[in-house]
Point group: C3
């Protein structure tokens, strides 16, 4: 799998990790248990050092986690601190710990060397703690590799075909190309659609200029702002970025994250909703209904694409002009993987004993 | 898989391919899309040359097929004729095309070198366009390799055990052997059963001589004529083929085709029904009810046989006298495969770009 | 798989093998058909020598078994005695036969060299023919290797964590260790729990001393006697085995057998119930309800453990003091497998023709 380890992967929505209940997640085919200790979230390899039972079937005891099979007890650092019936704990007995941060309503896990975990690399998603946005959320499990979802999100020309009904995307997504800018850890997309009334479900009375911009960031996070401006704004801005505060409608934000859970499996997290100056909970619910339809359209074609790929020896592609974002991002990811590999990052499961 | 490529495989019932709706099928583990252009049926590899999305999720546009992911457009030859948003199409961009013919209510696909496709090799099945026969039809998907279904159809001694209830086959199928004749592309079976009243569901009042004959033809097509004659006919014919026009009852025809869809998967197509001088739609429905029961009896034992084979290292068989047809046909198929291989027929998926 | 072949594996409850109906079972990944001939039970490899159809789809004809596909007939020794339509049977045509014994309400199959089958090695389970015990029975199919169930049954410290609710096991199972004794073909466990009222569902009014002892025997059979004695008995016995006839309550017996059906699959057979002097059918039903809950608790954690193991390259364990029984038994099994291998026992499927 060509995914960097020195990156923050979304493991869960914050809201889905209840206090006192360990949760099993999978990232890069590694089984991980998340649990809330008294003042923080902790992530371990989800296998007890004793006989490899999953710790996610255990129980939280304050700031400790106890295996549910034979009662081995761990502290927040992953150290074994008690073996029932055995006075001595072998020195060095510990389970692998991962760096983990709760931010923007997501629980992020760093899959690389623990000592290099760098919180400044967490993408600036919009969480439910942000008072400006009225968001809904969800996730979908894919029977497809994360990379294929990346490719989808890095080329919106598919909107004209896959989402003509759901998002009501017209032909311009396929006919015109957005402006692309390489970022240190991703790619920025910017697009004006001039003289539009917007998608059918949210038509405006007057013609407007629609602007949208998204960053697609390592390891697979999309952050998109959209809004409408008075007709003529695009031209008056010289088709550059407008002042977002001057939007007159349709202002929404969506955070999306693609987490490779296995070699042929991914979890796709998403939120979407209006700015509170441009909508309310009812609009959010309308948007989430549209998203539910559209994201299932993606899932249908991407899982089918995966099945074809799996049946194709030596698969080759024919890139088009719309693939530039895909190419930029995949080259960036591949470079990081090479650098990490050269720096000794192990592209394997780490042992259960340190 | 020991199946020849230079042969016509049944891909679908004609009736199941609707105009305007591409359909996905699988033959020899290759994913194929069938679609109706304005005046013909077209078959392509079911993967877009762009990013390998299945074209069967696309849409027909007259005599062109458009991929449903990013809108790549193909003509009937498989050539890319439009890439939305990109003025130029790379020369040579095309998807693999298969020779395809609609005949006898079946859609036949030639899996070998396109330039060698020879329509005269299509077996003379009886279709719904033939006014002489009143047919029903269906298909069953097997979790077993096609070869095991061939073996079943090439040795009717199993009728006495597997189908004693459904077809009401008596012991003579196991006790006596049909006359076998090697054909250039198959094996002919001929059998008299003298002094019978026929199967329980279709008993005749008088004793009759039953005659049936079928050809089992490459790549796996069974075509069978059955009928009853006055007692004594067998003897008066010297147990040779009678004049079919002199049959007095029970005249039916069945076309059956076994298509290897994958290494351990097959689709079994079948029709059956009376000659219009010897029955009607009501009898056809009775026959189809019997067939539904009988063909599920085959499926039960063949899928179980496959599971045993998969669990058996170095499986060996013990042929009996009834296996002569199996041996003739499998030797014929193996010889063709060797010849094709020597002639350079690729026993692999072909590339997506010519 | 590290399981000895020269051992008796439980293939079925006696009650589950009906006269006249062959039954398919799997032991060590070998497909076996069991059937009742007139005066005995017979076990064959479940594949006809002709074309490997499973004989379990055939029919019993007195003391013979007929394949349901083409009618090949076998005697009780596995010899082919009839091939319909063929006068001669090839000499030596026979299907592999297994030694099989019905005893203690279980059908035991010897997986090693037939000539070495030794009935004295059948573990002394308690069957439904024993008038002293009022038993219930059942089985569970595991998606896990048998070895993990062995490990579970060889270390009851898990009772304090996995079965705290179901069996109402207190902390002493994890805090204290039973006495272990190596047996020629297994391990004996003995444990006093003093000054207890027993588990919540079956509390006694007075404090008692609880005694339980079980043998865990090759190839994976647990036989356990439990009972309560007057407080002080443990001490007066010097914590040795008490006189079972002096038990005052809670006397139960359970026979359990773990059969490896495949590489990652096992069937777990169990009975449990009170001695007739200490309970009745109603108590048996209470116990079976508790067992159903408890054995599913085991299944949940063991199948999860298997999934983790399968995802872990180079899995390593950290043994604890409670693992001594696991180690003794697995060393014993490994030694037997080595000896059998040196003696030429084939750790492969045997051929279908002798």
């Amino acid at each position: 799998m060509n995914y960097p380890r020195r990156a923050w992967y979304v493991a869960s929505w914050s809201q889905d990790l209840e206090p006192g209940k360990p949760a099993a997640v999978s990232i890069l085919d590694e089984s991980i248990v998340l649990w809330r200790a008294e003042d923080r979230i902790v992530a371990f390899a989800d296998r007890c050092v004793h006989r490899l039972a999953p710790l996610s079937l255990g129980r939280c005891e304050g700031s400790r986690l106890r295996c549910g099979y034979h009662g081995i007890l761990y502290d927040m650092e992953g150290r074994v601190v008690q073996i029932p019936g055995q006075p001595e704990v072998p020195p060095g007995a510990r389970v692998q710990r991962y760096a983990v941060v709760e931010k923007h309503s997501w629980i992020w896990v760093w899959m690389g060397d623990l000592s290099l975990a760098d919180e400044t690399l967490i993408p600036p998603a919009v969480g439910f703690d942000d008072p400006d946005w009225i968001l809904g959320r969800g996730y979908l499990d894919y029977a497809a590799e994360a990379r294929l979802i990346h490719d989808n999100l890095l080329d919106f020309s598919h909107l004209s075909y896959v989402h003509a009904d759901s998002f009501g995307a017209g032909p311009s997504f396929a006919e015109e190309r957005p402006r692309l800018t390489a970022l240190p850890r991703g790619v920025r997309f910017e697009r004006w659609i001039t003289g539009t009334r917007g998608p059918p479900a949210r038509k405006s009375d007057d013609l407007v200029d629609g602007w949208s911009t998204y960053d697609f960031l390592l390891p697979g996070v999309l952050l998109m702002w959209s809004g409408s401006f008075p007709a003529g704004t695009a031209k008056s801005c010289d088709f550059e970025k407008p002042d977002h505060d001057r939007a007159i409608g349709g202002v929404t934000f969506t955070s999306q994250a693609v987490t490779p859970t296995g070699a042929r499996a991914a979890r796709y997290f998403f939120s979407w909703g209006p700015h509170r100056d441009h909508g309310d909970a009812a609009l959010r619910d309308v948007l989430m209904g549209i998203a539910a339809k559209a994201f299932n359209e993606d899932k249908t074609i991407i899982e089918a694409q995966q099945r074809i790929l799996d049946l194709t020896p030596d698969p080759r592609i024919m890139p088009t002009v719309h693939d530039r974002g895909v190419t930029l991002f995949s080259n960036l990811a591949a470079r990081l993987v090479r650098e990490e590999s050269a720096a000794g990052e192990p592209f394997l499961h780490r042992g259960v004993l340190s």
